[in-house]
């Protein structure tokens, strides 16, 4: 009897995460979807005019969508090559003692609050970008560089797992055929770990897309469409973060609607990652 009860309680604990996810979905949609339904999805997504407090308010998130895409792409361009290089360093190049330094360092990189990253972007990198390349400094470029560093831990931890999972026999086979270590890595090991690496990139993409506070501090928060990476911009997340503090009525609805768009994008990325990781797992079993 007692056993039954305990099993039931544990089962309910197990359901909590699912219930929470369902609640989040329902409440965010409930708060944001009606506005999208009123003004039409196409107008909401592809109109670049965001003027929520005007007498005749306009709610178009195109500028934010573009900003998010630029910033995320930039973060990946910086974070993925760097992250993969560090991963290969840790799995294949580094002396053991250095690995024992790298690992906690990367863990620490993951633990540093995003407001600290944003502050570094604001106080150190933005002035540097302004001096070197011109423009306002607070820009897509500044944001992308810092976000690139912020997604490193995600990229590294997932791709490290998948590179370490490549069977030793594959490595030995390549070396026995006379390949250099780099030939072995680039032609055998990395392709074999491909699905895990792709998963790490998609997870990194999700992190970059969802980051808010750091982005607010670095990107300049301009509602204009960015013309170059040196321009200020705004993103889906940063606009929510900035305007939620004072929004009400329709304006708040529009911010929740922006949240819906973000949530849908993130869930799509999650699903793709899950599919990749699953294929990876079943591939390993075979």
């Amino acid at each position: 009897m007692k056993e039954r009860l305990i099993q039931a309680v544990l089962f309910i604990c197990g359901l909590f995460a699912v219930v929470a996810l369902a609640l989040i979905t329902v409440f965010i949609f409930q708060a944001g979807a009606p506005l999208v339904a009123r003004i039409g999805l196409a107008d909401f997504l592809f109109n670049a005019n965001w003027d929520p407090t005007a007498k005749k308010p306009s709610f178009g998130i195109f500028a934010m969508l573009v900003g998010s895409i630029w910033l995320t792409a930039g973060a990946l361009l910086i974070g993925v090559p760097l992250g993969l290089a560090v991963t290969v360093f840790m799995t294949d190049l580094a002396p053991v003692r250095l690995v024992t330094i790298m690992r906690p360092a990367i863990q620490l990189l993951a633990g540093i609050p995003s407001v600290i990253y944003g502050f570094i972007g604001l106080t150190l990198l933005a002035p540097l970008v302004r001096r070197l390349f011109g423009g306002p400094g607070l820009s897509v470029l500044t944001g992308a560089i810092v976000l690139g560093v912020m997604i490193l831990p995600t990229v590294i931890s997932i791709s490290e797992d998948s590179i370490r999972a490549v069977p030793v026999a594959l490595r030995q086979g390549a070396l026995a055929l006379g390949a250099t270590r780099w030939q072995m890595l680039s032609r055998i090991v990395l392709p074999a770990a491909k699905s895990g690496i792709v998963a790490s990139v998609i997870l990194g993409m999700g992190r970059a897309l969802g980051e808010t506070m750091a982005v607010i501090m670095m990107i300049g928060n301009s509602l204009n469409l960015p013309g170059s990476v040196l321009d200020a911009a705004t993103t889906l997340t940063s606009n929510i973060g900035l305007e939620m503090a004072y929004a009400s009525g329709q304006h708040r609805e529009a911010l929740f609607a922006t949240g819906v768009v973000l949530f849908v994008l993130i869930m799509a990325l999650n699903s793709i990652t899950n599919a990749f990781v699953k294929r990876n797992r079943s591939g390993r079993r075979a």
């Binding site: 604990c13 929470a20 633990g111 250099t180 780099w182 030939q183 929740f256």
Partner: protein
Amino acid sequence: MTPRRVQSAVFVVIWLAALLTLLTLAVIIGAIIVRGLPMVSLEFLTRAPEDLGRQGGILPTIAGTVLLGVIALIIAVPVGVGAAIYLTEYTREGRLTAIIRFGTESLAGVPSIIFGLFGFIFFVTTLKMGWSILAGALTLAVMVLPTIIRTTEEAILTVPYSYRDTGYSLGATRWEMVRTTVLPTALPGIVTGIILAFGRAVSETAAVIFTAGTALNLPTSLFSPVRTMAVHFYILAVEGISLDKAYATGTVLILTILAINVVANILVRRVSRKVGR
């Protein structure tokens, strides 16, 4: 170029990338601490802020951070550990566990601003908690739940099957076996997960600013609004209130995260030594 030459060139680049990463970490921490540490004193930690934070200390924000983190964990740890026990000890992999795993993994990928929106519309508005410790802690609890489930699961999976067989052969029921054998053995791993979850709660901004508020007073009840250290740091920096105080607050924030990571690492090392034996 011969393959050997290519290899040398590539390996140099990879070494540089690794050093660049370490250097970046050092710059981030150094830039804050070098300017902030001289301004951190016992007085700064134990006094209330004055004039929006231009003067005085950060005591209420420390209280707010600790309260939010601890209460979030009090809510999330039993649920998360329970969920992990259910997934590892009480059920076979099937459709049900697939759904639970999907929920957990998706929740882990949800950005904190979405948690902030959800916490605001659900806890603050719908359940009428207002901006409060309780609303903030509940939001954080949902947010750190996947971390706790995952680390607990991993800790439980390292417990050797022979331990379980011994428990059963002595006539223990499943729960007796879990309680007396699996959980004590997995405890250091579980504690590590809890510490890391606390770190996430400490560093969080977007999810707490819209649920716990930005009030600078010392909290008096679960329904008081509070401002955490991270939120205070953000407001000081972005609203240009005081750069000096921002550096000082950032230093306390970084040292806290540093301490949390060191403790977690010591625990992990102890666990892996035990498993290695």
